[in-house]
Structure formats: C-alpha cells, structure tokens
Symmetry: C2
Subunit: 333 residues, 2 copies
C-alpha cells in the first residue's frame, strides 16, 4: 500500500538508483532527472523509508533516550529540551522508561535491536556502570547528569556534585546557621554520595557547627515530606541542604504543617532550580544546575560520537550558581 522507490522510478521512467540519488544528499543526478523524479514523487506522495535505508547506510538517526526519573518534574524540562534539540538535528528519540529495571543488559539489547545510532542516559541516580555497558558494546553513549570523574571511562555531562555540596555548606555558614542538616536523596545515588562528601568536607573544618544527616528514600515530594516530618519530631536543625528541589518542596510542606516559619525557624536550600522553584508560592533558594548547557552539550557530544565512534570518553562539567530566593535568611551584615 505505501508507495516505494520502485513506484516512483516507474512513474518517472528512470531507474531506482536515480530515484535513490535524488533523495540522497550530494549524489550525482542531472537537473532534468531530478525534476522528473521530484514530480513523480510528489504526485505519488512518496517519502523514503528511513529504516530500509538504514540497512545499507548503517544509520537510523534513532537515539535511545533512557531515563528512570519519570516522577521528578525537573525531568519534564529535561525531556522537553532533549527532544527539541535532537529533533533540530534530524535525530529521533526512542524513549526508554527504566522504571526499576536498572540492569543495563536488557536495555542494551532492546536498543540494539532497533539499531540506535547512539544513546543518552539521563539520570542523576544511575551508577556510571549503566552507561558503561553501552560504551563497552561500542554503542555511542553519553551519560547526562552523571557522576564526575577525573578520567571518565564513558562520556559524562553534568555538574560537580561535590562542589555543589561545598557551595551549599558555605552558603549556610555565611548565613550564620550553626545547627545544619544534610537531607540527602537516596543513599545509594551517586549524586547523594558526592553532595554529602563536599558538604561535610567544608563543615568538618568549620568550628562551632553541629551537623546531622538523613536520607530520603527517593527524589520525590512525598519522600521529602516524610523525611522532614520525621526530623521535626525531635528538635530540627536551623537549616537543611536538601537533595533536590522536589525534596525541598516536600520538606517545606512538612515545616508549614508544624506551624514553623521558613526561613525564620528553619532554612532550606535545594538543588536543580527546576521551573517550579521560582513559583512565587514556593520561592525556593536553590543551587541552579545549568540544564540548558548540560543538554546542549550532551547532544553535541553524542553527535560527535556518531561521526567518530572511537573518540575517547570525555567528561564535561558545568558550574552551578546559588539562586537566592526566600527560604534562607539573609547574610548577616
């Protein structure tokens, strides 16, 4: 039923090769032939089958977009940007929702069956090993929002979470908070581990600070709220560095429940600067992750891999900045 190359060739009175060349960038076709072919193609409503051509060219222009963060509104922005940027380059995102299936094997196999040209792993919770499995299978891969490494074994684009931990600590110290809490995301997430490390690194060399720590079970509102409700049962700290923004918002709701005031009674600083953080009824002080740059760079990197698959892995990390809003008290004069 769908119209093929052959149909167009017959209608235009030329060979199949001629039709194929008409639709191939930089192939040799005379103006006359091209005209005939284009006319026939338009009349028949022909458009070339990308999958058939991929058989010989070895390129599908499909990019696997793999994530396990379908509950964090921050990632809607991530998907929006990724899909737009990929589309702009003529690439097509094949979306994979990992749910709790974090073993790379089955995903690798799936994406191979579809001959994706490359893979983007968008996750701040997956271990570097996940992306590494693709790399080892010689599938071009970039881990976005992944863990920093001095000499990465796989392409990674993201932020320096250790440095973010330091920034958070310094910020809280500068505001004069003395009893400070780390309320991390899931214990095993690399982002949690790294942020905690940087955070403690600074606080441990600062005299007169009392540090506590706890972990939410997920990067989600409910987990943040539950954890903060728990913390509020005893005497809470003066201020918390929360695992991310959505966790922070959960914590804020718990604090409001208890009738405490933010930032007077408890201060909160988040991380991500998701769209919602600037909403006036949330107004969260947070550490901004330069999402646009991260995603731009990830796409650029995966495209570079397509052209040069043997390109050695690279790590690209972007600086974060503190976004001052209303959930921390002002710096002491």
């Amino acid at each position: 039923m769908p119209v093929t190359l052959k149909d167009v060739a017959e209608k235009a009175g030329v060979s199949r090769s001629a039709v194929s060349r008409t639709f191939t960038e930089g192939a040799s076709v005379s103006a006359k032939t091209r005209r005939k072919v284009e006319k026939a193609a338009a009349e028949l409503g022909y458009s070339p089958n990308a999958l058939a051509s991929s058989l010989t060219t070895g390129r599908t222009k499909l990019i696997g977009l793999v994530s396990n963060n379908f509950h964090n509104p921050f990632f809607l922005q991530v998907f929006d940007l990724f899909t737009r940027l990929l589309q702009e380059r003529g690439l097509r995102p094949l979306l994979v929702n990992l749910t709790d299936q974090t073993d790379p094997e089955s995903t690798l196999q799936l994406l191979r069956q579809y001959s994706v040209d490359g893979v983007i792993v968008a996750s701040s919770t997956l271990s570097p090993e996940f992306a590494l499995a693709f790399q080892e299978a010689r599938v071009p891969v970039v881990h976005s929002f992944g863990r920093i490494a001095a000499s990465p074994r796989v392409n990674v684009v993201g932020i320096d979470n250790v440095e973010c931990g330091r920034m958070a600590a310094r910020t809280l110290i500068a505001r004069g908070y003395k009893r400070i809490g780390f309320m991390g995301g899931p214990r095993e997430a690399t982002s949690t581990i790294d942020r905690r490390k940087g955070f403690n690194e600074v606080l441990s060399v600062t005299p007169g600070i009392e540090v506590t720590e706890s972990f939410a079970t997920a990067y989600s509102f409910d987990a943040g709220r539950a954890e903060m409700l728990n913390l509020l049962k005893q005497m809470p700290a003066d201020a918390y560095f929360c695992g991310d923004d959505v966790l922070s918002i959960g914590a804020l709701s718990a604090i409001a429940d208890k009738g405490l005031n933010v930032p007077k009674d408890v201060g909160i600083i988040g991380l991500n600067d998701m769209d919602m953080a600037r909403w006036e009824n949330i107004n969260l002080t947070t550490i901004r992750q330069p999402i646009r740059q991260i995603i731009d760079s990830s796409v650029e990197l995966v495209v570079a891999m397509l052209d040069k698959p043997e390109r050695p892995p690279e790590g690209r990390f972007f600086a974060c900045e503190i976004i001052e809003r209303g959930t921390l008290r002002p710096v002491k004069p």
Copy 2:
C-alpha cells in the same frame, strides 16, 4: 561489526532460515536445531535486527508518541504511564515534541519514514484535525485527552469536558458562591471551549449568579498567575473555575501575593488532579481526570487498531470526580 543471522547460521551449521525460524514465534523448528542455534547465538551475542525484519513483516513495533505539552507537569505522569504501558506490550515509543509545529503534515511524514505501526497523540489542546490527518493516511491513531464527539471520525479517549464544566458550575453553586468566574486555558483549545460551554450552560439557568470570564494564554503557571493578577486589579469574583491545575496554582500564587485568603476571600477549583494538586502546600480542590484509565484505554485501542486497521473509529470517555481539598469553602449546611 554487529553479529548477523548469517554469522549465527554458519556457526551453528544450519541455514539462515533455520536461525530466523528459531527466533520467530510459532515457526517450525526441531528441538535439536533450536538448541544448536540458541547456543551459537548466545556465544556470539546475537540479537535480531528488528528493523530489518520489519521490512518483510511490515511491523516495527514503533509507536509515535506525539505531544505538545512539555511544560505541564501533568504530562510527565502521562509520559510515564504511556511509556510503561507500551513497553509492557513490547512496543517502543518514538517521541515527538510538537513545540509550536501544529501542522500535522511534517509529523505524519516523519512518522511514516520510520514506519511506525501506530500513533498516539497526547494533547488536550490540539484540534481533532491533527489526529484525523493520520487516520486519513491510514496510520492507526488514537487521540488521547482529545475532544468528545458523538460519532468521532478518529479514535478519541478522554473525558467529557462539557460535563466537567457543568460539574464545576454545580460545585460552585452548591458552596453558595454568587459571583463566579471562568478562567479558561487558551481560547482556541477545544478543552477550553467545551468546559466553558458546560459551565455557562448550568450557570445561565441559575438565578442570582453573576458570571465573568477570561482566558489564560497557555496551560502554565505563569499564564495563570498573570491572568489572576490582572483579575485582581478590579474586584475579583468569589470563586473561579480554572482551566487546569497548573493554571490554578499560578492563580493561587497571585492571590497569595495580594494578601487574600483562599478559600475565604477567593475560591479556586482546578481540573486534572495532577500529582502536585495533593501536595499539602497546594492542597487544590479539583476535578480528577482518570488518567490511568484514559491511558490504559488509549494503549488498548491503538493495539486493537494494529490487529484490525479497518476498525471503525471509536470514542471512549471516562467520568471525572470532584476531589475536595482546601481551595473551596465547605458546602453551606
């Protein structure tokens, strides 16, 4: 470089057909051959190329997932569910972000190039014509969150927005509100048109009610906030039915800014019951859209179309329910 059917056939000492049959459900292969083939395949790490096989079978198991709602957090839930349900059935979502490109032609062509088996259009703002273009091109299509029609020309799954408008109106009347506002989404969105219709239908036959109406420029926080700030310049109504939840949250932030109390000074009812609506610091009274049922049903319908492409178009609509939370005053005793 990747291992093919031929490699496996040679290693196993059988014909290519034998290998193909081993991996084809219900094909005739002896146990002995199957064993040999599976052993060879495992050793070589073979997995069949889904795209090559699609050439002859005519099935890619790719489903185009098309949306223009990448800014509404409600749709993260939508994408989560769609991808999970499709994956469970062995289907692969090819994601298309419409941005402002709402002309179906280029999307249709794109999805044809990739020979998608079917298409799901997930949008409450696109006109029915969008999905219709696929239908007319004989591409199995389902419009999710689309507009209700008595005898639809294309498969649609969603809610009855007119009835939702009525529900909202009745709810506000029951609470004793007299000065009532409709704060719609984009003027041209079918969902806006329909909700407004049902809303006015009820209010126009209720004596003693004063109705006003206005429209936000998008289903977004900022648009909701801007519109409400505008409304608050003059004397606002007692209660508003807002286009959707994210719009409602924007409106709530504007109201809080002005120092007014919800629900005492102004009442708000939204629509969707997105995850965020139940967050304790939002606590939005809203009309719940049965998202799970809608998406289940959409996937089921698109699968049914794959098996029977000539299936006549069907409309499936689900009932909504009022979710009482904190943004409307209680019913008068």
